[in-house]
Symmetry: D2
Subunit: 364 residues, 4 copies
Amino acid sequence: MKNTFGNALTVTLFGESHGPAVGAVLDGLAPGIPVDEKYIAEKLSLRRPYGKISTARREADAFELLSGVYNGKTTGTPLCILIPNADTKSADYEALRDIPRPGHADFTAQTKFHGFQDPRGGGHFSARQTAALVAAGAVVQTALEEKGILIGTHIFRCAGIPDRGFMDPEADIRTLCGRPFPVLDEEAGGKMRLMIEQAAAEGDSVGGVLETMVIGFPSGCGEPWFDSLEGMLSHMLFSVPAVKGVEFGDGFAFADLKGSAANDAFCLDAGQVKTATNRNGGINGGISNGMPILFRCAVKPTPSISKPQKTLDLKAGELTVLRISGRHDPCVVHRARAVVDAVTALVLADVLTGRFGTDYLGGI
Amino acid sequence: MKNTFGNALTVTLFGESHGPAVGAVLDGLAPGIPVDEKYIAEKLSLRRPYGKISTARREADAFELLSGVYNGKTTGTPLCILIPNADTKSADYEALRDIPRPGHADFTAQTKFHGFQDPRGGGHFSARQTAALVAAGAVVQTALEEKGILIGTHIFRCAGIPDRGFMDPEADIRTLCGRPFPVLDEEAGGKMRLMIEQAAAEGDSVGGVLETMVIGFPSGCGEPWFDSLEGMLSHMLFSVPAVKGVEFGDGFAFADLKGSAANDAFCLDAGQVKTATNRNGGINGGISNGMPILFRCAVKPTPSISKPQKTLDLKAGELTVLRISGRHDPCVVHRARAVVDAVTALVLADVLTGRFGTDYLGGI
Amino acid sequence: MKNTFGNALTVTLFGESHGPAVGAVLDGLAPGIPVDEKYIAEKLSLRRPYGKISTARREADAFELLSGVYNGKTTGTPLCILIPNADTKSADYEALRDIPRPGHADFTAQTKFHGFQDPRGGGHFSARQTAALVAAGAVVQTALEEKGILIGTHIFRCAGIPDRGFMDPEADIRTLCGRPFPVLDEEAGGKMRLMIEQAAAEGDSVGGVLETMVIGFPSGCGEPWFDSLEGMLSHMLFSVPAVKGVEFGDGFAFADLKGSAANDAFCLDAGQVKTATNRNGGINGGISNGMPILFRCAVKPTPSISKPQKTLDLKAGELTVLRISGRHDPCVVHRARAVVDAVTALVLADVLTGRFGTDYLGGI
Amino acid sequence: MKNTFGNALTVTLFGESHGPAVGAVLDGLAPGIPVDEKYIAEKLSLRRPYGKISTARREADAFELLSGVYNGKTTGTPLCILIPNADTKSADYEALRDIPRPGHADFTAQTKFHGFQDPRGGGHFSARQTAALVAAGAVVQTALEEKGILIGTHIFRCAGIPDRGFMDPEADIRTLCGRPFPVLDEEAGGKMRLMIEQAAAEGDSVGGVLETMVIGFPSGCGEPWFDSLEGMLSHMLFSVPAVKGVEFGDGFAFADLKGSAANDAFCLDAGQVKTATNRNGGINGGISNGMPILFRCAVKPTPSISKPQKTLDLKAGELTVLRISGRHDPCVVHRARAVVDAVTALVLADVLTGRFGTDYLGGI
């Protein structure tokens, strides 16, 4: 369904980087969910460029709620969030239409849309579109939090520097929510930022891995086959620009484990069924088992770099060298965090709405 | 949509391991695709238990085409494939209803279906269901091959032993199609099988990584946001039992690259736009760029092991030790290959049908 | 989605009239719904040819439940119903491939499927396919009845003879369930059958109107816009072969009413909000208001008649006269009743599953 | 899918009558469709209140294209149309929350949304939402017209006065496009308007029937079962507020025909396969046969009337008498025409996009 995702609760995206606005429509929301504009703004601020390690483009991310909210609560009808664009410098991009940037979607957009696409700032492919996703995610995160479901993402690794892992899930998640550069170990974070600045100085960029934990999600949600929790989550996570890998629980490390080490033994914890380990990331057979949901996303280094790159002049039909000036991020891992949290919230809210009905997330 | 996946071309699954049959319905197929029952049988044979390293359960996998085929070609109406079950030993499983097997879906099935699920042999969660997927995939693989689109999957790593990578894509893919134990380096394959046998002897199991390459897929197919090629493929790949990670191109290795190393420079090859490297796995911005599509799946070790395991007796509400007897696979990596090929074919056929219309794959 | 319909609860159809079988897959069923094979057989018997006024083709309609049922109850996983074909006389149809029958889908099938369709007995277009729909509907009707939701359809008019309208909804619906020729006024029914026999004797056929009432359906279900109850119901009702019109409440008669006569005044009945009249057929703004849901379907006369008809010989490219021999129904209105009941049940069960979650219809 | 409809080409609606705006997102549009704002404005003007026979609420219907358009053509990415609200008098409605208007969705909205709905002006149920549908429809109508597909709707009957039927389809359709009060016989139109004014003077309202013809639509489009052309069209047509009946071709009149009269004989017309009559409205077995598509919609009289009406005070739990003041339409039949044209265009464009691929409507 292209720009609409979800079964019971859907999100629809629209917009281009340098057009009038980007936006999202949420449909299937329960009525009665509190909509706190300050909370949405906070989530948007976590996606915004950060200090010296981000693009110089400064977006206010002022948003408007065009529908679906009345007296501060969701109505149960479609909620449209609009984020008008500002501070766009379209002149930066016009020349690039025939000279596709390596690692970007310029060439594939041209092939798919036959030149009718809006090339300015990446058009509809722009990560600008994720501002709408983050705002949409914030609306459902409020509802999830009222059910005791918390989502937290940290930089598992960036530019070769590892963060420490989750230890006290709830405390760690609350810590991350307050940090624009989301690490659990501030010292590791400092080293990462140094490496990012150094890459920026070289006209280069770095990548990393994000790790997400969800606590409080009830067991028995998800589907055995196509709409497994892993399937639904990965579908959306791969929509986050630059994500090229997704793994649940031990993920690729499972490949080198034996079954006796990989299986999570069941146990009782204060009368509750738990597992002694959580190598499966809270999901068995596509369905939540009540343990924390845990997954990681690989984020590739930003393809926009100022170092000269070999590419083609499609019109001339010959090789050329491209130097991207403009304003770019030497790293998007920390900014992608807000998007990962948002799409996770959207998927989980969809699954819960299908499982427990259309009133559930409104607390009715 | 639970057990139905796809937009223009959908597959719907049904069946339980020890019920009368498993099956699949393909809808949205072009009319006129040749249906070769021998070819389907060959693909099913690649999924079948293999030598000493597989379960002793021997399934004939005899299939019936109940609809959608007339005079040896698809009609354009739904094609139902039925695979009757045989050689089922239900007695093996009845005792396990209250004693969930670690790493399996027994507990989550119980939580979701409140005890109404069919527990015999894993019921609807059983990998037996993948026989229907493989048969369905075989139908569309014929159509893809007529378009010059070839899919091949090898064991990238198993039990710690690596295979060599793809070198000559077309030749390698053709080689893999003929090998029930799909490796490119037969010597590495021999070592893997030894390790699997050793694990089996210990009552244990091993995991691995599968790597898939698709050649001949046209550029300009896929979507910028939710229905990106990565999103659609991963959604289905995570439906393959035991898959816990999916990565495209360099995947998680991107995390430690710089942008200057990660970007694929564009170049010309006999007048065609290509990229000098293929670190992005043939996909930019969710859309195919004409290079080979490349991805890897992490396959966890089979959770059914005969070693004693700690678990719960849910009825008694106390810890117990489980010894699984029955017939089980010490490794499913090689058998999962056929399923990965099948779901890849199903997703790509869906994307092409949406892109070029409902007659395209029939060659009309 | 072609042969799959529904949001939370879907039905997928497959099969051809003279192929091995027709069938349906129900997905999204709650676990725990009792599956009574006798009840399904009863519903199928209401669709079967009836006495002198139906085709001489006699189908046993033996069905098999291939999946999704365990210990007499739904498991919550896909339920596949298979109805093998028998008593097929394919020779009757082969000649008709190039000589399309007026009023049938022969010509449009040829145009859409380019000659690859199965022409025998109408192939996938055959009303034979509705046997699978009726069986699928019966499964969810059981669940609806346990919630106090009853569905009844009578022949509102046939061959110009009117039946009386609903008077005592519950008693009338129960009466209809036991009558293979579904009229409320048996005398009117007798006259209808005479007219049908007379048309048959003339080598002709007759049409009619079916009227359906649903009682016990809760208020507040349905959607304001595209998935209004009217939209969802009509979508499925127009899938019933020969249905060419659908109207809710006063329907087309609204055109000649004034607002003051058309509006249903609200009132209280034993503390319950009701309306004094029910001209809107239980639906306002696409959503149920708690009053009986009421609609009518126009059923065209069977296009298969033995009278000579003008048509084309497509191969020769010239006019010809067609005489259909074979075995045909001079009227399908009474048989269509079972299909209308079934698709109504499927739509309402889908709406309830979405509204109240996936356990609701299992009574969990 | 609630507020999203379509398979290959979808439309998503959002907005409330007295909120900031109503709008629609079109997704799946081909790239390269010319977007003519004047043409969209013209279509919107056909929906606008007309002379003395409409509400006094005057809306400018100024619209903004927020995305999906670049250099005057569609880009192939989602197109969002926004229509800001103006001239709203919310005070008119606040009192009505607990006193539901008969024939309206006030009560069902309350039941479904538990009081969280926006009650002002009908909120999301308001016909105001159809302005967005009309604008969305206009975008695809341009593409259809470039393919020679023309859509025209006239008032078949209003307040008991009949219009003449279609005679010269193309000329008649072109005539209708230019008439804000869409009749083929201007004299009949004059009589209708007199009857409407008379009803208005009495504080009452009238209903009617709309008849739609589509010419130039290719044969072989549509599906045998659930996504039949009738099923898809009716699904959307019942979303048009006040529509309570839909019939194709002879529709309910089929009930009293014999098969020999109802069947459309095939014939040749300048080498083209045609039918001598068109009683099936251009559709056989759910698929277009190349003849004009013909259907009619029953439109109920506007429920908002100034005559006193019996209803309930839900809070007090007692009967009361309601006098609606505000500004209302004594008839919406003529205004509904633009909406019927729009949803018809949206459905047909969706069907064509699925059939011929995502470039087709862009003429690529």
